[in-house]
Symmetry: C2
Subunit: 333 residues, 2 copies
């Protein structure tokens, strides 16, 4: 079996939505997002509830833009970083849409969108949605320290974005097509520093990109953009190095990373860049979708990366397994 | 769109495997399982690592029985109850199989098997695996109390099974076919007692079963078995009541529940029955698969149920959303 799933009848993206928090709203992509929430609580009484509402907002906006009603959506694929994926489950429980929960850490946008695409391409669904979210405060609390502690972060640490994105996928419609998808294999080179996720995830991104190029017999020059998310500044450098050294592939001239794009590195205190499921989700579902619709980009190989650790696994001295799933998006000709 | 996904070319189950812990090995189904681990640690130095190994054992056994090699498996769908699904991610990281992480709490066996079936039926994969696990000790530690605390459990509480199951799905092969699948919608009737999961999940099971019967225009008499998992004794009674009262459907004569089947209620201190992703996974992949192969059962509507809560959501006073995914398995004629 070829590791790339190429669709005979590529499903189309008919609507996208992205919502972000205050800090993301100060970054260079601020004007691309559908809504910026100045209040990190979104009026809720916990960070977890705020994240759930953030994801719900993105999904509802995407559905509205698609012109569909909830009962026309056949299936929703979503997940997030919170324990037991409650960002998603509590966010969507009122929507009454058949729901398939997914877990891919920060790779969830690619994981859910790839799976939604397979369902629509095969006729198992007519309309599907893929979504994910992350929240700086719920993540810091769960994975690192309470915000009130004011812990210092290392230079390799990335900032979890407060952001959510949603994509509506339909058959024979849309200005942007999903050409093909590839599912990642877990890669673990023994990185144990939970403040250096970029290094833990770079080998997975390299493996997925190399497998995709080999399987499709294509070259980096065939793509307008190979977009990873979210390796940040440290992980991106490693990715370029790994691809060159292990696979003799140079993608530097077509590569960018969502973690590098979200914030102004000079003015915003974000160390190695952005991260979190919502980082690549909100950028794919705003800037990238717009550029594909407007033919500024012809094709984008989107490769979202995830670090499959838990605080418990780290405390038990385990290394950090990484994964990366890929999707080739093409503007309709 | 019809909420049931019915396959034109039903994929087949070509191998299954089930492994369980000591307590499950004392129950009425002991002789059905592939392996019983008398040592709950499986020789590992943490409960989490023990669970990961348990899941890996089930997957490796299933692959071996199928006669496949790891590099012939196109995709693996798996998830579990542990934070960030580390039962799965650390269990399978060495296998080098493309991996799609799923989260459905105790509904994960149906969720992962339904999704694997869609991939194989559509030709997106030739060989797929669905798997899940749970471990009594890792669950008690994470969701309730440290084992050493010796807390008393309420009569409505279920015992999380130490168990894992895996299913290999292939095209045009196998003695058991996946006829159709249905994805659940989240149901939340406001239950807040985290020691009464059966009650929280019963409405989801009722909704999925009622939608399946309505959509396929079938009647409970058309099935040899409608098998839920894992409502236990309390939730099963509620399910029968809800289906009668809200949907005028009586399934009592064809219903059983994996949570009721795993242990001897009289001799084993399990209160309202078994639970955990591994409960329905190990029973489906042993007893039920054998009975379908041997034509003791012609068809089984398998409806695994999940409670989509987290300890954090419970502490924040949230109610417990439930979900149930369904699969119709048929013995090949």
């Amino acid at each position: 079996m070829n590791s790339v799933i190429k669709f005979k009848n590529p499903p189309g993206v008919t609507a996208t939505a992205s919502v972000v928090g205050k800090e993301e709203g100060k970054g260079p992509l601020a004007h691309e997002f559908d809504e910026i929430f100045e209040d990190a609580t979104l009026g809720q009484d916990s960070w977890e509830k705020a994240e759930s509402l953030l994801q719900k907002k993105a999904i509802e906006k995407a559905i509205k833009k698609s012109g569909r009603k909830n009962d026309e959506i056949d299936i929703l694929f979503a997940g997030d970083l919170l324990n037991q994926c409650t960002g998603s489950t509590f966010g969507i429980r009122d929507l009454q849409i058949p729901f398939a929960g997914m877990y891919g850490a920060c790779s969830t946008m690619a994981l859910s969108l790839a799976t939604a695409s397979v369902f629509v391409a095969s006729g198992s669904a007519s309309v599907a949605i893929a979504a994910t979210s992350s929240h700086f405060c719920s993540s810091e609390k769960q994975f690192r320290f309470p915000l009130e502690y004011g812990g210092q972060r290392t230079p390799t640490a990335q900032r979890t974005c407060t952001a959510a994105g949603a994509t509506v996928v339909e058959k024979n419609k849309g200005k942007v097509l999903i050409d093909s998808v590839i599912y990642g294999k877990i890669q673990d080179l023994g990185i144990t520093d939970a403040n250096n996720m970029g290094a833990a995830m770079a080998p997975a991104a390299a493996d997925t990109i190399a497998r995709y190029l080999k399987s499709t017999k294509t070259h980096p020059d065939d793509y307008d953009l190979i977009l990873t998310g979210d390796l940040g500044f440290v992980g991106s450098e490693l990715l370029l190095k790994l691809l060159k050294e292990d696979h003799s592939v140079d993608i530097a001239h077509v590569h960018n990373d969502c973690g590098k794009m979200m914030f102004y590195r000079e003015n915003q205190d974000v160390h190695a860049g952005g991260s979190g499921c919502g980082c690549s989700a909100s950028i794919l579902n705003s800037l990238i979708y717009r550029q594909l619709c407007e033919k500024e980009l012809r094709n984008v190989l989107f490769v979202a990366t995830g670090a499959l650790l838990s605080p418990t696994s780290t405390m038990q001295g385990e290394s950090i397994p990484g994964i990366a799933h890929g999707i080739l998006l093409k503007g309709k000709e």
